[in-house]
Amino acid sequence: MSKVRLATVWMDGCSGCHMSLLDMDERLIDLMQHVDLVYSPLVDTKEYPENVDVVLIEGAVSSEEDVEKIHKIRHRSKLVVSLGDCAVTSNVPGMRNRFKIEDVEHRAYIENAQNNQHVPRSVIPKMLPHSRPVHEFVKVDLFVPGCPPEADTIFFTLSELVAGRMPDLTGKTYFGA
């Protein structure tokens, strides 16, 4: 049986979900018998590959770059999983949504900056007016809420997916877990 082509993506999140993923510890080794990690912040691939079987997305969609990325990912992946509250609900990144972008930028780059106080207009991707959950942009096949979802939850999810089953997460995780 060929290995499942797995990707993980880090968008607007704190990387906590990826930390939780690593928290699977030695179970990662078992899992790797069944999956190829074809794209991830944890590996070296630069371009999101074609024909991804499963992609775990951490983080909300907050910038124009994220929008581009998420569409590319959707096109190139069979099963899109929103991993963690930021991807599922926009969570902490979404807390800026009730403020104007200019105010948010001013707060971050000027008020709270020690030095070099200016709002970067190049290099940094343009922020969307609202940071939003992934499924408001593309179809999402599975939601795994949690902040972050526990390693056990992620392991259960991946094990079921590798086994060709859609995991039932009722009672296993929740918003803010």
Partner: protein, 547 residues
Amino acid sequence: MLLEELNALAEKEKAGRKQICVRCCMSAGCVSSQAVEIKKALEKAVVDKQLTDKVEIRRVGCMGYCGQGPMVSIESEGLLYEHVTPENAPSIVEALAGGKTDVEKGDPNMPFFARQMLVVRAHGGRIDPERIEDYIEVGGYTALHRVVHDQTPAQVVEAMTKSGLRGRGGAGFPSGLKWATVAKSKGDRKYVICNGDEGDPGAFMDRSVLESDPHTVIEGMAIAGYAVGASQGYIYVRAEYPLAISRLQIAIRQAKQNGLLGEGLFESTFNFNVEIRIGAGAFVCGEETALMASIEGRRGQPRPRPPFPAESGLWGYPTLINNVETFANVVPIIQKGPEWYATLGTEKSKGTKVFALTGKVRNNGLIEVPMGITIRQIVEELGGGAPEGATIKAVQTGGPSGGCIPAELFDTPVDYDSLMKVGSIMGSGGMVVMDNSTNMVDVARFYMQFCMEESCGKCIPCRAGTVQMYNLLNKILSKQGTIKDLEALEELCDMVKNTSLCGLGQTAPNPVISTLRYFRNEYLALLQPEPPGEKAKTNGHLAGSTH
């Protein structure tokens, strides 16, 4: 007051009438276009032409043909003037003395008038709403005298039941049954409430009745009070109707002065008083439990029923609450008998209904028609059909709780059950005619926005569901929606309809449901062709980008 005194007043009034009566419509519509000045100018012209012995100028209520106002009618001469200005006054009066006038004339025998059946509005446009003598002259307060002296409360309730009258507020609950329930309910005291919080966009039937014939509503309430055993009535009128409020105040004061409200009416043991309560602009206060909360001085929010007001209403006492038009039907029923009333209309919907006919028809205004008349007859005969170059597409009845009836169903008779069957409701009487230039999705959005803004916020489905439905309609109208959005809209409609606390929420999805039923193509035409889930929500140009 005794019956003899009442009759004497009527005789005195009749004797004082002059040969020619020039009636000047002084309802809100005409007043807003200088009716007050027109009346003054007419009075001056009569003096100038030395016709004061022969001609009287009378302030009257709504004549109904509001689209052509301000209106002046001279019944004895068969004259009806339209779009009158104060400058027209001298020539109108001169015409009475044999001169000529080029003021725009209407035809008082046109189908708009001839096809109507006046029961509720019988005195509208005929009597001075600010003079109780005018009302007494046409038999006012004799019905109250009759029930107080010749009938038991049970007989009055029986008459209401026999008449077959159903509530004119929209839901069509049998009035007799409601009266009977309140009459049977036990309570130290009981209340009668008249719901004049008419709030549907495009509806002005109740305003017109209150402005044109306030005494008939007061008398109807007093009869109701006698029938159910209440001695206190409240008329709840929205603050947006200042003229109706002022005429009611005058009418109540005059009735009290003449002993037609107060203690021991017609020297009986029956007491009845009426007070006005003014709404503060919330549509939801037309819902009976919210209305009562508002009268009690609390936040105007509905509460779950049961208990129904008939058992536990105002301050927990049994309360009869009916709409303005319902009360306006009471006096004719008592005067002419329930058997007569039951001959009007259809088997299950008796009597007449007043509609505010507006939108894309030649003749706009208030009409009173027998139940069972078809929509086609209303639109084409009374309404005079579409204006030049337009094709009528649908009629909206029932306001934000109602639905759109497409032209192919215009042979539907106007009665409670038939309208329900085609996905609309009788409602309180708004009837908006739409032509081909109207996008039905836009219509649905208009009403949804109305419900969203008027939701009281108490229950979640209505409070949050209307917001989501409104946003989805906006998305579809701005051509950003997909078939998934339409599905979500339909799911929300179903859920809000079935789970909301009060009538506002339960019927808020109706305009969407009915336009989807008959004009689904207009929704589909606005949808994005892209497969769902693949479309950028923010800007289209990023979709499918692969660099």
